[in-house]
């Protein structure tokens, strides 16, 4: 009974993923027949149709942008977390920013980027996300789990602060840095409205592009599913690779 319930819940949660993977390879005749269960079929046609729509350059661009954001965020967070760990009283500042998501600041950010002449440049997609209080929180929690005597010992040995951070502390929290990086990557990869309003079509990320594709071809499920599947793959791979670390890092931040 209990197992059946859990099984049902997991099935319901994963159903959209299974469907996405299935529909991506469904021949158009079956989709357009109006009854997708009328027959089975396997085709790579949907994937091939993505190229002329401009899928691949978008994918590389999105990977580049979200990847840079993830690296920047982990970098700034590693430094800031070290400051916090050494007692710099900035915790309140980060907590305050944590309460307000960037997506709420859509209008003022648009105005500020406008003032800085950054609208419609790739910088608009990167710079506002270079520091994230959430990433700082994750890295800080990981550092707090280490004994501070490590730092003191290294100091007695005459190591500089930068050396301590990069040679002693960073390697120890490396798994958490990876997890925080994956989460930062996912959060940025998933932005839809922000890129839509701050940059023109030329710099749209994959997500915006897919939302637009769905508007242009609302009935071509095969094509849409293929785009959805391929855009999910990078995150899916990252998640499967680091699943344990991500869930544990998250749990660590929750226990606080």
């Amino acid at each position: 009974m209990r197992h059946a319930l859990v099984f049902l819940i997991v099935l319901a949660v994963l159903l959209p993923f299974f469907w996405m993977a299935y529909a991506a390879f469904l021949p158009p005749e079956i989709v357009y027949s109006g009854d997708v269960l009328s027959g089975f079929g396997f085709t790579l046609e949907n994937l091939k149709k993505l190229a002329p729509e401009g899928f691949w350059p978008r994918l590389w661009f999105s990977l580049l942008v979200s990847g840079s954001v993830a690296l920047l965020q982990v970098g700034t967070a590693l430094l800031a977390a070290y400051a916090l760990w050494n007692g710099v009283p900035l915790w309140g500042v980060f907590l305050f920013t944590l309460a307000i998501p960037v997506e709420l600041l859509l209008v003022p950010l648009f105005g500020v980027l406008h003032q800085m002449h950054l609208l419609d440049t790739p910088w608009a997609l990167v710079l506002p996300f270079a520091a994230s209080p959430f990433t700082v929180l994750l890295v800080y929690q990981a550092m707090r789990a280490l004994p501070y005597s490590l730092v003191e010992a290294a100091r007695l040995d005459g190591a500089g602060e930068g050396g301590i951070l990069f040679r002693v502390v960073a390697p120890l929290v490396f798994p958490n840095l990876v997890a925080a990086g994956v989460l930062a990557f996912a959060a940025h990869w998933n932005l839809v409205l922000y890129p839509r309003v701050t940059v023109g079509e030329r710099y749209w990320t994959l997500q915006v592009w897919i939302a637009d594709l769905a508007r242009r071809y609302p009935a071509d499920w095969g094509l849409l599913s293929a785009a959805a599947l391929l855009s999910t793959l990078p995150l899916l791979l990252l998640y499967l690779l680091f699943e344990r670390r991500i869930v544990e890092t998250f749990e660590g931040s929750v226990k606080g």
Partner: protein, 282 residues
């Protein structure tokens, strides 16, 4: 010694500088600027003209604004209780089972996966009449009926964040000392009674935490609205966050949208303050 300490404070402060400067420019500055923007009539295309507090005056007599406030609270009233109950229920169901970790991993997945792609999958699965599921399940017309449109947006939001809720409850469940539960069992309490009188009260911090996270989430989650219903039908799912987007970037009334943003920020800060109060209690 004191001087050396002070000196090191400063030096450590330098490490926070990159993060702080980015936050100053792209968080605190816009955060203050929005107050100024909210006194403008501004289309984003032509230079703005100052209109004082006119936007706010208009706001409070705008039926669309009040409808949006109503939709936001309705959304929260749907999401919060179901989010809490489902998170606790699932955490209980999987606690200590062999598949606990796998289930948690699976439930966490939707939160990470691309919203655009996820909403595409949802749409093609659940579209009324044409959707893949419509063939053998009665799918309500959520594109026409306000009630079902809201249900759809709520379900999508729950789907995305449930894994997180389960993680939080489960982490707290694990921190409950086993002796407490055993002692209650020895005293003759049934498993249901143990749950009701021992475990649930001890989960209070987790519930409070989720309540706060959930309400901030309810105030800001409008991407689902954009992707699934575009605020419709008849504005039934036009939550405040989406209202801002629509005003600013579809109707090109950025000054007015800034005024709504200020209200929304005020609400969010109130919730965050309540958060501080509630979390202190634990």
């Amino acid at each position: 010694m004191v001087r050396a300490l002070k000196h090191s404070r400063w030096r450590h402060g330098l490490f926070a500088l990159p993060a702080l400067s980015f936050l100053a420019v792209f968080f605190f500055y816009p955060f203050l600027e929005v107050l100024r923007f909210s006194t403008w009539r501004w289309s984003g295309l032509k230079p703005p003209e100052p209109v004082g507090l006119k936007n706010y005056a208009e706001l409070f007599s705008d039926p669309l604004f009040w409808q949006s406030v109503k939709a936001t609270f309705l959304f929260a009233a749907w999401v919060l209780p179901s989010f809490l109950v489902l998170s606790i229920l699932i955490a209980f169901l999987i606690e200590g089972q062999g598949y606990e970790r796998v289930v948690k991993g699976a439930l966490f997945l939707p939160g990470l996966v691309t919203v655009g792609a996820a909403s595409t999958a949802w749409y093609t699965l659940l579209a009324p009449e044409y959707g893949a599921l419509a063939a053998f399940l009665p799918i309500p017309a959520w594109d026409q009926e306000p009630f079902w449109a809201m249900a759809m947006v709520v379900a999508f939001t729950l789907w995305r964040y449930l894994g997180y809720g389960v993680l939080v409850v489960s982490a707290h469940l694990k921190s409950i000392p086993a002796e407490l539960v055993e002692a209650a069992r020895v005293d003759g309490a049934s498993p249901l009674e143990v749950t009701r009188y021992v475990v649930l009260p001890l989960l209070r911090p987790a519930v409070l935490f989720l309540l706060v996270v959930g309400s901030v989430l309810a105030l800001q989650s409008y991407v689902a609205v954009f992707l699934l219903t575009r605020g419709g039908p008849y504005g039934a799912t036009r939550v405040l966050g989406y209202f801002v987007y629509e005003l600013g970037f579809e109707n090109f009334r950025l000054g007015y949208a800034a005024a709504v943003t200020v209200v929304l920020l005020g609400l969010t800060l109130l919730v965050a303050l309540a958060q501080g109060k509630l979390l202190e209690e634990r």
